[in-house]
């Protein structure tokens, strides 16, 4: 298995060996510097490793990189903690179906239970059993309801679905248990022991031992049993395993259960040591993703070893930064693992996918915007309503419109790169952060006027976006998702998460309101129209203009030759290259345009908030933006507008809050739920769904009243999607071909 190493891998193995040797010598000479951190790092590395092998199990089962793995760990851990602490089993937060009625009528019809009491606090063993059973159920649901239907779906849909799981479970935890950290009684003995003269907590060693045992077990299971061999082949070639007489689907289901039980187990074992917060394991998951990738998502042993190494390197760098002043304080410690991940992926990637690596993937339709009179009237009406809401409506609507308009611009950034070119980007909010932080640095701190500071800030966003896009030239699909995630993190760590001129000032960043020709038009500035309450309409109006311009420019992009080439690259990189398309250049320009919108959106957020921290631009924000963009419709401008409406605290939410029910606390939860649903059952998002409905309605009306099928409907009235294993079923070989033959 390990024997097939490329020359590059041999060189790096040798280099690794040399470093290890030097390290050992160092450890003998200065143990506090080179030995103790290693020992401590093994503790945190064990957690990373444990999550990493769970990721490998899930990937081997169904080719999914499960971004929800950490959230499964978190949810199961909270179930356990709750059972041990109070004996309460949380009911999954199912929204009360009567809520809309109750909300409007202002009464409460039924009291939905949030917990089922299973007696007072429970013993650890039964709690563990129940929690792990919950994990098993989660695994089954993940397999049967989500990833099995997605077997032949584009990687994008799989990534989105797993992001949906993450958002959904994490929101469920917050809804049921609150956002605060929880602690629980130890499971392993935790008095410290001495190892070669250094005291460490015994419990960490127990975790480490458990991880090693599990890794070895999994290795043997997948290496030597029929089940393991068939599952491994199943992810690669379903027909082959079917020939072997083994049900690959069964194997995948079992693997999903194993993966999520493993996640839950890790969480429960680790929680007493570290405590647990709703996003604790998801944050750790990023390092684990790196480790799993180093193991090529297939080797348990390498993934676990890499996880341990990442833990050690982190501790070691931490210690060295304290010891040696000359190490520049640019966030290297936290960014390094991600830079390494990105480099490793790039080294391993190919600039064009190899033959056979392509599957027939049905991506969301990227409709060509057609300019008809009806549509112009529609856009005009939309704009008029938006104008009224932005300027004259009560203040909460105005605030909603501001958030929505920014959401539209951020979603547009994803329409270009993900919708048109098919490149998944999980770093959009990091790019937005660069826009936000640099507009404050250039504008407020350096005193540059808006027409200089804003373009400069956007240019910074584009610059970083281009740097981060380089890996995209050699990776694609799920690997690209991970690389962009890593790039986003590295950007945050290096650029704005630290104090400094570009970064934070006492934990926050502050921007003065925008000003042009002596007129200030921030959200708090005076404005001639409206009721004078904050936010006033001036900034919203500015956003409306900018947002409309952005929408128009993306529509034009879709109609342009560049846009056409982007879609060609999305459809088929190899064929595009053969048709003379410079795939690398197209991808870079898409990332540049996308970063332009992201940076712009970030700068606009900066003005909107005035004062902000790094959380606004963290990975979860990036994932959430992708979620909303996909939900709205990832490949159309209409989808971006829909996404903006749904955006956190956007106009859609405000309207729902005012008129139907206060969805506030449920936003992420509901978004996660619908995101999964969209990925599995309707990959075109709300916008595409509406289009279909309209066309069907149009067609029905047309047939009904004898006008023939709706005129503009041809491009959407497609035949049922072609099944991937039989591209272009023989459907019309004779029919249409003969037709051509006559001509």
């Amino acid at each position: 298995m390990i024997a097939r190493l490329s020359p590059a891998e041999r060189v790096s193995a040798a280099a690794l060996g040399a470093v290890a040797l030097a390290w050992m010598i160092g450890a003998v000479l200065r143990r506090e510097l080179f030995f103790d951190p290693v020992l401590f790092g093994l503790g945190s590395g064990a957690i990373i490793a444990a999550l990493a092998i769970g990721l490998v199990v899930a990937f081997r089962a169904s080719g999914v990189i499960n971004f929800g793995h950490g959230a499964i760990a978190t949810y199961v851990t909270y179930v356990y903690v709750s059972l041990v602490g109070t004996g309460q089993y949380p009911v999954p937060p199912i929204p009360n179906p009567l809520a809309p009625i109750e909300g409007i009528a202002g009464i409460e019809i039924v009291d939905f239970p949030t917990f089922i009491s299973l007696g007072d606090s429970m013993g650890k063993a039964p709690a563990l059993a129940i929690a792990l059973a919950t994990a098993a159920v989660l695994g089954l649901v993940a397999h049967f309801a989500i990833f099995r239907p997605l077997r032949y779906a584009p990687v994008l849909a799989k990534v989105i679905a797993s992001v949906g799981i993450m958002l959904f479970l994490q929101a469920a935890v917050v809804l049921r248990f609150g956002a605060r950290a929880k602690a629980t009684e130890p499971i392993f003995p935790n008095d410290p022991v001495e190892i070669l003269g250094t005291r460490v907590g015994q419990d960490r060693l127990w975790v480490l031992g458990t991880v090693i045992v599990i890794t070895a077990g999994l290795w043997m299971l997948f290496r030597y049993t029929r089940f393991g061999i068939a599952t491994r082949a199943g992810a690669e070639n379903e027909r082959f395993t079917t020939l072997l007489g083994f049900n690959a689907d069964f194997g995948a289901g079992v693997s999903w259960v194993m993966a999520s039980v493993l996640a839950g187990l890790v969480g429960i074992l680790v929680a007493p040591i570290t405590g647990v917060t709703p996003n604790f394991f998801t944050v750790l998951l990023i390092s684990s993703l790196g480790a799993a990738l180093i193991g090529r998502m297939s080797s348990f042993v390498i993934a676990a070893a890499a996880g341990l190494m990442l833990g050690i390197v982190d501790q070691e760098l931490f210690r060295l930064e304290l010891e040696w002043d000359w190490i520049p304080d640019i966030g290297i410690r936290r960014a390094l693992p991600f830079v390494v991940i990105a480099l490793a992926m790039v080294a391993r990637g190919e600039s064009l996918p190899s033959r056979g690596a392509l599957t027939v993937e049905r991506l969301p339709e990227a409709y060509v915007p057609r300019i008809t009179r009806g549509r112009m009237v529609g856009y005009g009406a939309l704009l008029a309503v938006a104008f009224w809401l932005t300027v004259f409506a009560p203040f909460q609507y105005r605030a909603g419109m501001q958030n929505s308009m920014i959401g539209v611009i951020l979603a547009l950034s994803l329409v270009v790169v993900t919708g048109y070119v098919g490149q998944i980007s999980l770093m959009q909010m990091a790019l937005a952060g660069i826009g936000a932080f640099s507009v404050a640095s250039f504008g407020t701190q350096a005193g540059m006027p808006l027409p200089v500071a804003l373009p400069l800030a956007v240019a910074c966003g584009v610059g970083f976006g281009l740097i981060a896009a380089v890996p995209s030239l050699r990776t694609r699909g799920a690997s690209l998702a991970i690389v962009t995630l890593a790039s986003g993190l590295a950007m945050g760590e290096i650029f704005f998460s630290r104090p400094g001129w570009f970064g934070l000032d006492r934990g926050v960043k502050t921007t003065d309101p925008p000003e042009l020709f002596g007129v200030e038009f921030g959200p708090n500035s005076d404005f001639i129209f409206g009721d004078g309450k904050i936010p006033t309409g001036g900034y919203g109006l500015f956003l409306l203009v900018v947002g409309a311009l952005c929408c128009i420019s993306v529509m034009r992009l879709r109609r342009s030759r560049l846009g056409e080439q982007m879609l060609a690259v999305r459809a088929n990189e190899r064929a595009a290259a053969a048709a003379g398309v410079n795939v690398a250049a197209i991808k870079l320009s898409a990332f540049a345009i996308s970063s332009f919108f992201a940076g712009l959106g970030g700068a606009l957020i900066a003005f909107n908030l005035g004062t902000y921290g790094t959380d606004t631009f963290g990975i979860f924000a990036s994932l959430t933006v992708l979620a909303f963009a996909y939900l709205g419709g990832i490949s159309t401008v209409g989808g971006a507008i829909t996404a903006g409406t749904l955006f956190s605290e956007g106009i859609g939410i405000v309207v729902t809050n005012e008129w139907v029910i206060d969805v506030g606390p449920y936003t992420a939860y509901v978004a996660g739920f619908f995101l999964i649903g969209t990925a599995v059952y309707n990959n075109e998002g709300i916008d595409g769904f509406q289009r279909r409905q309209f066309h069907q309605l149009g067609g029905w009306l047309g047939r009904r009243f004898g006008r023939g099928p709706a005129v503009s409907g041809e491009s959407t009235d497609v035949e049922p999607p072609v099944t991937p294993d039989e591209p272009a079923a023989a459907s019309g070989v004779s029919g249409g071909g003969a037709e051509a033959g006559d001509g």
Partner: protein, 253 residues
Amino acid sequence: MGDPVLATRSLSVRFGGLVAVDDVSLECRRGRLTGLIGPNGAGKTTFIDAVTGFLPNNSKGSVLLEGEEVFGRSPHVLSHAGLTRTWQTLELFDDITVRSNLDVASRRLTVGSALLDYLRPRQRAARVNEVLDLLNLGDIAERQPRELSQGQRKLVGVGRALVAESSKILLLDEPAAGLDKAETDWFGAQLRHLVDQGYTMVLVDHDMGLVLNVCDYIHMLVFGQLTASGTPDDMRNDPEVIAAYLGHSGVEP
């Protein structure tokens, strides 16, 4: 007797231990339809992949386009240089219209032309219409490939390779596979017609009948090696060919 448009010298492709194309040197002359035949897995597709720059890490040797060494250039550069191809598995751009499929391939996009087109869109190449007419695709130009029949899709693939302004030679990978007898005959006639108009092409196909009927010169690959070359008449009587295709339905005529 045209000059060679495309020539390979000692072109080899290895996948690990497997030599898929083994030291192949051949020439494709201007204005001719050159056939490339061989049993399944002989390396025909791999040969095309290597010539068009898709196997930079697995191939070695030399590829001459009108006498100029082009080995090692990337696929899009080769396409601009005039080396265009179709795919055995079609590989159309499934979610844009037929016209857009051809549009993408029709002209090279530079920073300047992209910007200009963005500012003043819809200036479409007459060349695209020409090819659409040539292949009788005019009626379905606004449809998407996945709505079309297999035969129409094949034509779109050919059109996409044909449309490049700079195209000097066309490599067709089993363009007639999956068509019935009548369609194949029609398709062969179309190819012959194009060649007679001055196009240079390479035709890879299993259908010996088609290849023997329409090609001017034929090469045969077996296990990656060039085992026979000659005119259709030579090939009909070549023992190597008969051995390789023994019992194959296409040989009788």
